[in-house]
């Protein structure tokens, strides 16, 4: 690596993969509970498994973004990281706080956890994805602030590139919108309105800036295409992200008590949200096509191209499927939502973090790329995880369509629980696909332990 301080990225990447594994184990528990309803009850009720699964997802992705930043910003800025020590302290604070939070979910009844962690002072718990106790939420503010300061100070003292600027803007947005997790009004409609300022403006907003910057960085490194070309594309892509995604927030405002103009605004702008993802796909393939070098890390190229495709299909296409209000009226809160959520998160965010790790880890370990054997294992991992995730998305989409029909469209609607019984075949199949996904992830982890016989010159 070019700068010694890039090494702080390594623990972040290792933690990210470890937490990812935890996330998938709990996903498999939930998948089982869908069909064997009392599996692990009452030790791990479904809602506990779910909050562990979703919170681990968010935290491993954040570790991934942070590691990616600490790796790419010194190289972009052509200077050492402002404070490697701060980065390491922050790493441990985040990891320990995260671990304690997960243990809290698992070992303590949620209402007691709330009482003992000051929720009566400021009630921030009990909302989806924002289940964290108050101290954890404050901890995340401090971790985000530390990350932001470290990165911005590094950029300020060195070369300012579009990639570091876009990454920093994304991070700033992430930190600012996180503050809305502290705002939980008694008015349920307001509660939901501002909740989406964290969730939508993160994953369909500022996180896309982080994604774009990471992908652009890896593409510059592996293709050698001129920075000017890549950075101009990056600006165009993130422009489309924000001009579609900000008003696109309205596609969450159809049926929660807000005025009807959101039905129009959310449908139209939501329908345009796939555009930046399509541009990312075209951009990635174009860059690889026009490459000036054949980088020895072919696995990283696969991960990068994979990200651009699966993000478009999962976030863009699957999102489009249910963004129009007349359709969403029937699919709102069904398995179709889950299908989109899984494929979108995997395609956009899990894959971009894995892309970054696959690119950077060999370099952090002293080589330009892993051995042929290790890269092949990575590629197997990519295909197994990607194909199985498509399987999950297709199965849950089918389940969602059947659910929407039986429960909402039919002239003789069935109850929720009766409909769920009808979907068992989809859920069993989904669990099988989930097991394949786990195998893919285990192969990915195994690839790190394959011994180098010959290493490429750095």
């Amino acid at each position: 690596m070019k700068y010694a301080s890039q090494a702080v990225a390594k623990p972040y990447f290792i933690a990210a993969i470890g937490l990812f594994l935890g996330q998938i184990l709990f996903g498999l528990i939930m998948g089982m509970q869908y069909v064997v309803g009392d599996f692990l009850f009452p030790a791990i009720p479904f809602n506990v498994a779910r909050m562990v699964h979703t919170n681990l997802l968010i935290v491993w992705l954040l570790f991934g973004f942070m590691g990616a930043s600490y790796y790419l910003v010194p190289e972009e800025s052509e200077t050492e990281l402002f404070s490697p020590k701060l980065a390491i302290i922050t790493f441990w604070v985040f990891l320990v706080a995260g671990a304690l939070t997960i243990l809290g979910y698992l070992l303590v009844p949620y209402a007691s956890l709330a009482k003992w962690t000051g929720n009566d002072m400021l009630n921030t718990m009990g909302r989806e994805f924002l289940e964290q106790p108050l101290p954890t939420k404050i901890g995340i503010v401090l971790v985000a602030l530390s990350w932001l300061v470290n990165i911005v100070m590094t950029v300020l003292k060195g070369r300012k590139t579009a990639i570091s600027l876009v990454l920093s803007l994304g991070m700033l947005g992430l930190a600012v919108f996180w503050l809305f997790s502290f705002y939980n009004p008694a008015n349920l409609v307001k509660d939901k309105f501002y909740w989406w300022w964290v969730v939508h403006l993160w994953v369909e907003g500022v996180w896309e800036l982080i994604l774009g910057a990471m992908l652009a960085f890896v593409l510059i490194k592996v293709t050698g295409v001129d920075r000017e070309v890549i950075e101009k594309w990056l600006y165009v892509i993130i422009t489309m992200t924000l001009i579609t995604g900000i008003i696109g927030t309205g596609h969450h405002y159809f049926f929660i008590g807000l005025p009807p103009y959101w039905l129009w605004l959310g449908s139209i702008f939501g329908a345009l949200e796939p555009i930046p993802f399509l541009m990312m796909t075209i951009f990635a393939f174009n860059m690889v096509n026009k490459r000036r070098r054949d980088h020895p890390n072919k696995a990283a190229v696969l991960w990068a191209l994979g990200t651009s495709v699966v993000a478009f299909v999962g976030a863009g296409l699957w999102g489009f499927l249910h963004t129009l209000a007349p359709i969403n009226y029937y699919t709102h809160g069904t398995q179709l939502t889950a299908a989109h959520g899984h494929l979108a998160f995997y395609g956009a965010y899990a894959l971009v973090v894995l892309t970054m790790i696959s690119y950077a880890m060999p370099i952090l370990r002293g080589r330009a790329a892993n051995s042929e054997k290790a890269q092949v294992m990575e590629m197997w991992s990519f295909w197994l995880m990607t194909i199985s995730m498509f399987g999950i998305a297709l199965l849950l989409t089918a389940a969602g369509i059947v659910q929407a029909y039986l429960q909402r469209v039919s002239a003789t609607p069935m109850s929720f629980m009766a409909v769920q019984d009808q979907l068992a075949i989809f859920y069993w199949s989904r669990e099988a696909a989930g097991l394949v996904f786990l195998i893919g992830l285990l192969l990915y982890i195994w690839s790190f332990f394959i011994k180098e016989k010959e290493s490429a010159l750095v």
């Binding site: 479904f46 009990g126 289940e131 349920l188 409609v189 600006y235 008003i247 909402r408 609607p413 929720f416």
Partner: protein
């Protein structure tokens, strides 16, 4: 081509476009908040309802159920459960959990007090009267 549309131009369009749409979003937010009281049933947002919302949150009901279509997809939609089942059923149901039916999805026993149960039901009643543009399509939720 690159002389016509430079990186600097792209950056400026980014800043201009983002600021414009963010300001538009703030205007729409301001308007939505202004008219909200005509549709959010806030006239029934009593202290008991507020307390009931806290009971809902501190027991993480959203971890299995959806509320106005948002949440988890393991258990039924509860935004309209007050209309679908009525207060007596809801109270008895929660008090009677878990069902312990083998293989059936299980709901924990939350050991709620009578007041907590009544307030939670008030919250669910309040929720069922919010103007959601006619959602859900029917009583099943």
């Amino acid at each position: 081509m690159s002389a016509i549309f430079t990186k600097s131009m792209a950056r400026n369009v980014f800043f201009g476009g983002s600021v414009f749409f963010f300001l538009l979003f703030l205007v729409l937010t301001f308007d939505s908040m202004r008219v909200l009281h005509t549709r959010d049933n806030s006239q029934n947002l009593t202290v008991n309802v507020e307390h009931g919302k806290k009971v809902w949150e501190t027991n993480n009901c959203i971890g299995c159920h959806t509320l106005l279509g948002e949440g988890a997809y393991f258990a039924p939609e509860l935004g309209n459960v007050y209309k679908r089942r009525g207060p007596a059923f809801i109270k008895a149901w929660i008090q009677g959990m878990p069902t312990d039916v083998p293989g059936r999805r299980q709901m924990p026993q939350f050991n709620l007090t009578d007041k907590e149960l009544d307030d939670l039901i008030e919250f669910l009643k309040y929720t069922s009267e919010i103007n959601t543009n006619n959602w859900p399509p029917n009583t099943e939720g």
